[in-house]
Amino acid sequence: MAETPPMTEAMYYILLSLEQPVHGYGMMQRIRELSHDRVKMGPGTLYGVLTRMRHDGWIEQIEAEGDARRKTYVLTACGRRELLAEYHRLQKMVNDGAFLEERDR
């Protein structure tokens, strides 16, 4: 099976923000919180990534309670696996470069 290529920053933060079901605008706010105001994702970027992730089966769409028009997104089991894999990959990368900080001290 081919290995999944590394995620873009947008993909990673979108999956992170979907720990709980959330709608589009809420997702943008959540991403800002998670990234401490560093990542301000545009709706065009967000929507494009969401469409592809939904197609890949990483996330799914559910109707929000009381508002049929507004769609809420949730992480699927597959999406969670991919997120964890990416997290471990990033963590490993950080650990591999940890000596840089020690050298600077």
Binding site: H23, G24, P43, G44, T45, Y47, G48, V49, R69
Partner: protein, 405 residues
């Protein structure tokens, strides 16, 4: 009664005032091409600052309505275009999603969407990642490329096929018929369309390349610098040429030399029904068409052309004669034009019978139409009469032979 008239008049005045007000509060501008994203966004912003708000965008014109001058930001978004599926319209969900983020949909037309947000609210840009914006721009690229390829290949293919096969079919007949202006028009239209598509494709390619390098689109007027002056100048020149040829074609068609048929057939290259058949000219014709005993004369690059319609009546007998005479500049295409005339004739047939005549180079007959060629002269005659046709055609040919000898 007087009161009724007065209220009717009041209503009319009110409606007129309303219409005048509407016209005064509406402005129309030419829609910019799809690849002029930055210029279009800048235009909407400036117009809004001057109190003209974009209301509707068509493929050729966009409508603005007078409103409160305000600082607005406009962004253009394109829906996905795929070569096989065509344009995929933006979903309501995406539109609602953008609205949640402060971007309201102002106008939409086949795959092109204009969103707007108050500048003070400092809305988040639609695209924070160039990679995603490339996808959107590529869809414009595909759109222009797909249309361009279809149009250009069909036009160029049509011309190449015509030249290679040396065929004179309906297209060639049309150019012969309408004369020089229509030929110029077709050439100008072809060059304009092909250039417009190539230029649009190139401009889109530049945008994609820029965003690929990580540079964002220039959304603010201060950042924008006008380039591509040569390309724009060529496009304007071609556009003006096209406009002139359109006007020329219309003038030619409207002002075509149309005259009543002469009484005598002497000194004219075409045939009069009276030279072959007996009877009086009549304005009543069995087809109910508007043409009545008239001759149209056009001089073109490829040919000098005469078209006549004539109707004779004698007792209960009726003769209708419709004639196309081409005096070609070159006799190279005469035979193929003759065959084409027979095929195109409503009363002709595809499999005409060729018969020999000592004077003519080529004579072919099919149902009610006969076509004859002598040198560079090609004549197609459709005659509906109660007389035996073959004998009638022989008389026609004899008269024509005397005229053209």
């Amino acid at each position: 009664m007087k009161r009724e008239k007065s209220s009717l008049l009041d209503g009319l005045v009110q409606k007129t005032e309303h219409l005048i007000k509407k016209i005064k509060n509406t402005k129309w501008l030419r829609t910019l091409p799809v690849y002029e994203i930055e210029r279009a966004e800048e235009r909407y912003q400036i117009m809004a600052e001057n109190g003209w708000l974009l209301k509707k965008q068509g493929s050729s014109w966009e409508r603005y309505e007078r409103g409160t001058p305000q600082k607005l930001r406009y962004r253009i978004e394109y829906s996905q275009v795929k070569a096989i599926d065509g344009i995929q319209e933006m979903t309501d969900e995406q539109v609602d999603f953008y609205a949640d983020c402060g971007w309201e949909l102002v106008s939409e037309r086949r795959g092109v969407y204009v969103f707007c947000a108050p500048a003070e609210a400092e809305p988040i840009e639609l695209y924070s990642e160039p990679k995603e914006q490339i996808r959107m721009l590529r869809s414009v690229h595909n759109y222009i490329g797909g249309i361009g390829l279809c149009v250009a290949s069909s036009l160029v293919g049509r011309w190449v096929a015509d030249i290679w096969t040396d065929g004179t079919d309906f297209f060639s007949l049309a150019t012969l018929y309408a004369g020089d202006w229509l030929i110029l028009f077709s050439i100008a239209a072809l060059v304009y369309v092909v250039w417009d598509m190539c230029y649009g494709y190139y401009r889109c390619h530049l945008l994609v390349r820029r965003v690929k390098k990580g540079k964002t689109l220039h959304h603010t007027p201060e950042e924008k610098k006008s380039k591509h002056l040569v390309g724009k100048a060529i496009k304007s020149f071609l556009g003006i040429s096209l406009l002139i040829t359109i006007v020329g074609s219309i003038v030619l068609i409207v002002g075509r030399d149309k005259e009543k048929l002469p009484e005598s057939g002497e000194g004219i290259p075409y045939l009069l029904a009276g030279e072959v058949y007996e009877g009086e000219r009549t304005d009543k014709n069995i087809f109910g068409r508007g043409e009545k005993n008239e001759v149209t004369h056009t001089k073109g690059i490829l040919a000098e052309y005469y078209h006549t319609t004539e109707y004779l009546i004698k007792d209960d007998d009726f003769v209708s004669l419709d004639q196309n005479l081409y005096i070609l500049r070159s006799q190279k295409r005469a035979i193929s034009l003759a065959d084409s005339l027979l095929e195109q004739s409503l009363f002709g047939s595809d499999d005409g019978k060729v018969f020999e005549h000592p004077f003519f180079d080529y004579v072919v007959e099919g149902r009610y139409t006969m076509v004859a060629v002598k040198g560079n002269m090609v004549i197609g005659i459709t005659c509906i009469s109660s007389d035996a046709l073959r004998e009638g055609w022989m008389t026609v040919l004899e008269v024509l032979a005397k005229k053209w000898d």
